[in-house]
């Protein structure tokens, strides 16, 4: 027996300015099955909700249609009210009059008519609604943090300090990430390593954190609260338990001329190496791609000299399976290198460097021990040109976005140069100065005003070499686009921040979406900025978009809070709007299995009481299913359906639309 109540909301004037809400309520009262119909100014207000609750009880309603705003906005509100009145909350549906009608049309009779039709469609749907109950899923209270940069470190420490286990996976031999490579940090100019390394040590020593360095994610299965992750521990060729980190092996290694990643290629390292002196763990790994033993099968010097017998050439990659309840992706970013820029010489001028290289030159732990020496000849530069927006905000280069950090680090770089060489000439070419942030604009002003950095608004069109100098040609757009030519000893390009080259692959392993630039997508840019669309997978730091350290750290803490909130429950409650299989009609062709983007379809054996197998049918894993409906569309025998959006419901809605009748005058 359908006894439907219709509640038409004015939404203040949002709806009532173009829709005659009273009329919609009146028309709806004539729909078959509708026993109560009313309009009200604010249905979401307390008195509005009470109207619904009272009507449910007084008129013994079996279904509720609230014609108001978007279900995204107030469905929980009205479902809660419905439940409070004793009716299953899933017997309440919303007709979105505001977004689908009043906001997009003028006030006319047909607008009211459309509103009434929207209500009628939902009335037909709600007649087929069924009582549904939330799904409970257990939670494994261990988090996986992918990436050991400052974002990962912060998230891991916050989660671990709340008492939950954390597994951290870092693909490099040491944690620390990009921040470990920086010299000083804006806007305070404090030493990057000084503030970072204590945290790295804390991670290594934390009883709740298990750290896998030189490791990658092999595969991710499962669902929120119950992920099954396989980690590939790449062979380090060194037994870190036995190794004392004495460094003898590194010293004796005959292959020493390998460009050093940590120093952005400005220094060299051995084939067995520790990335940097403060590395965590501070024990070496063998770079098999460059090691003579692995390339030619002989050498073995390191093994000979190792006093701890820790060198194990035969070590193999190991696959480690872990169960986790939440995953934090904190894989950071990369930068475009100077060879991406034809106008700046495709990287052929050694003294045209990128920002990260400048950081290493300026760093006390860098290849020059903090003395600014230009790569070509080791001379200390007298004049440096900094070019902001190298690649960023340039659709022609395929990077239309702003890399966010460059304005600030360019000002910092200019300042660091001026501090080291008071007579030096620092010139910055910029498009706009984006220094939004606490103390940020002041910082840039200081560079210009106190440190006398010459800021030229304009783009650099070309760089060429002449008599050992780099000639930087550009225009000054503030001076009637007058061409400028500046002689420089070194040019620093603030190259664009980009996603890691393997980020797409990782996103696919994690089943999370990503943007056209391969940065990971958040679930909602404003309201769910740290979560992804895949429940239980969160984001921290520059893997989502270019970010500076303060933003990364705050997002990491935010993500940690989400993880901790998830772990504060023993069971997860999920909306039951997921697919289900009719065992009677399923023939087990499992073509649905291949179509499911969430790998939510499993096999279930139907057996008789005596144990003989009747058939194998599809089974939906309620934890994994996101209710997308792809399997429903594919299933030939219509053996799969979705709770809350059953074929019957949708069919009822659509056929209502095709069978209009004037109810106005009835």
């Amino acid at each position: 027996m359908a006894r439907i109540g219709v509640f038409v909301c004015h939404c203040g004037e949002n709806i009532s300015s173009t829709v005659d809400c009273a009329k919609v309520a009146e028309i709806a009262s004539n729909y078959p099955g509708v026993v109560y119909s009313i309009d009200y100014k604010y249905m979401c207000s307390d008195p509005g909700q009470n109207l619904i609750k009272e009507a449910i009880q007084k008129h013994k309603l079996t279904g509720v249609v609230v014609a108001a705003c978007s279900p995204r906005m107030h469905e929980p509100t009205f479902r809660k009210a419905t439940a409070e009145a004793g009716l299953n909350p899933f017997l309440c549906e919303m007709a979105n009059l505001r977004e689908h009608c009043s906001w997009v049309h003028f006030r006319e009779d047909s607008t009211t008519e459309k509103a009434a039709e929207l209500v009628r469609v939902l009335v037909e749907k709600v007649k087929h609604n069924e009582e549904l109950f939330p799904i409970k899923v257990p939670i494994t209270k261990t988090a996986l943090v992918i990436g050991g940069g400052i974002g990962g470190i912060q998230a891991a420490l916050d989660i671990a300090n709340s008492g939950h286990k954390v597994i951290m996976v870092e693909k490099n031999p040491s944690i620390g990430g990009k921040m470990a490579q920086l010299s000083e940090t804006f806007p305070t100019l404090d030493c990057s390593q000084c503030i970072l390394t204590p945290r790295m040590v804390e991670v290594a020593q934390h009883p709740n954190i298990t750290l896998y360095t030189y490791a990658e994610i092999e595969s991710v299965d499962g669902f929120i609260g119950n992920f099954k992750v396989t980690i590939r521990q790449k062979a380090k060729s060194v037994d870190h338990k036995a190794c004392t980190g004495c460094g003898l092996c590194i010293e004796k290694c005959p292959i020493k001329k390998i460009p050093d990643e940590f120093n952005a290629g400005l220094g060299n390292r051995a084939a067995i190496y520790v990335p940097f002196p403060q590395a965590v763990p501070n024990k070496p790994v063998i770079d098999r791609n460059n090691c003579t033993y692995f390339l030619k099968g002989k050498c073995g010097l390191c093994k000979k000299v190792c006093p701890a017998d820790a060198i194990h050439y035969e070590q193999e990659d190991e696959l480690i399976k872990v169960d986790v309840g939440a995953i934090v992706a904190a894989t950071g970013f990369d930068i475009k290198h100077s060879d991406f820029f034809p106008e700046y010489g495709y990287g052929k001028y050694a003294d045209v460097i990128d920002g990260l290289q400048f950081e290493r030159l300026a760093s006390a732990s860098g290849p020059t021990l903090g003395v600014l020496k230009r790569p070509s000849d080791g001379k200390e530069p007298e004049s440096i040109v900094f070019i902001a927006c190298a690649g960023s905000r340039d659709p022609a280069k395929g990077i239309p976005y702003c890399s966010k950090i460059c304005c600030m680090y360019t000002a910092k770089h200019a300042m660091l140069f001026k501090h080291k060489n008071h007579h030096g000439k620092a010139t910055v070419f910029y498009m706009d100065i984006r220094a939004g942030g606490k103390m940020y604009d002041e910082f840039v002003r200081r560079a210009i005003e106190e440190d006398d950095v010459n800021y030229i608004r304009g783009r650099v069109s070309r760089i060429y070499e002449k008599n050992g100098k780099l000639i930087v040609c550009g225009v000054d757009t503030l001076l009637n686009s007058r061409p400028v030519e500046i002689e420089a000893d070194m040019v620093v390009l603030a190259t664009a921040a980009i996603a890691n080259s393997d980020s797409e692959e990782l996103a696919q392993k994690l089943h999370i979406s990503y943007d056209p630039y391969h940065f990971f997508s958040e679930a909602h840019p404003k309201l769910r900025p740290v979560e992804t669309n895949t429940a239980g997978i969160m984001l921290a730091g520059a893997c989502q978009a270019p970010k500076d350290i303060p933003d990364t750290v705050s997002q990491a803490s935010g993500t940690a809070a989400k993880v901790v909130a998830l772990f504060s429950q023993d069971e997860l409650t999920r909306e039951p709007l997921i697919a289900y299989v009719n065992n009677n009609t399923c023939v087990g062709c499992f073509l649905c299995q291949s179509v499911c983007p969430y790998l939510a379809i499993e096999k279930e054996e139907i057996r008789r009481r005596d144990g003989t197998l009747v058939k194998t049918v599809a089974k939906i894993n309620p934890g994994l299913c996101q209710g997308c409906g792809t399997c429903v569309a594919l299933c030939r025998s219509k053996s799969i359906d979705i709770h809350g959006y059953t074929n019957r419901q949708i069919y009822a809605e659509v056929s209502a639309l095709f069978n209009r009748r004037e109810y106005a005058g009835v």
Binding site: P516, C596, S655
Partner: protein
Amino acid sequence: MSDLINKTSQFFSSGIIDLFIGYKKGRLGEGKPAFFTKPDQLSELIFDENCIVNLAVYLRKPELKKYSKIGILANFGTLRALLQLAAENQITDGQYLILTVADGKVLEFANLKAIEEYVANNLPKPNPERLALLKEIESKSREERWDFWTRELSSCIRCYACRAACPLCYCEQCLVECNQPQWVGVPPTGLGNLEWHIVRAMHLAGRCISCGECEAACPMEIPLGLLTQKLNMTIISNFGQIPGTKREPDYALSTFKVDDKENFIR
């Protein structure tokens, strides 16, 4: 033929099979399906190019459950149907003894992989007459095509012989029998007939092994195989997936590959 009969009767006598599905001589000399349960019946067993019925259609009969192992004499369409059925989890490797005759020699397939190889090496070219017919229909204007199909399909009596004859129509509940909601109108009238044949062709797109049994079974002489064939050809040309050639699922309409680029999702 004696080779085939000898081999088959050996399978019986050694207890490997207790039912053999093959062909015997039909009314016009062509092969008609025959079920052999004893070696002495095998004298009637024949196999030639006129044995066209797709025997895979019988494997879903509950009557066959009581046999411990069934042998099947497979023509090319049957072999492809068996592969497709395996890909769709309807039969398992080793479940049946599968024979065919090629160049006068009896071939016994050790497993589905062997069938896969055999099929890959013997895939026939599409029948030029059929292609010409398809081309002729394609060359018609939209209105003419509409007229053509509404006229042809108006004679459909919805006996579903096309479905019964199809080795890949094995659903326990066909969509037309699903009445909540009633997706396809049951009365054999214009719209319902159109819906049924579109649904049938869609459900076989990317799965149809082109055996032609649907059209052969149609008592009303409707060229309904053309619909299936056209859709199937579209799938093959767009995705390169040829149904009934692989024992693992390879279904264009359901395939989600991890290396699929998702740049169309905004």
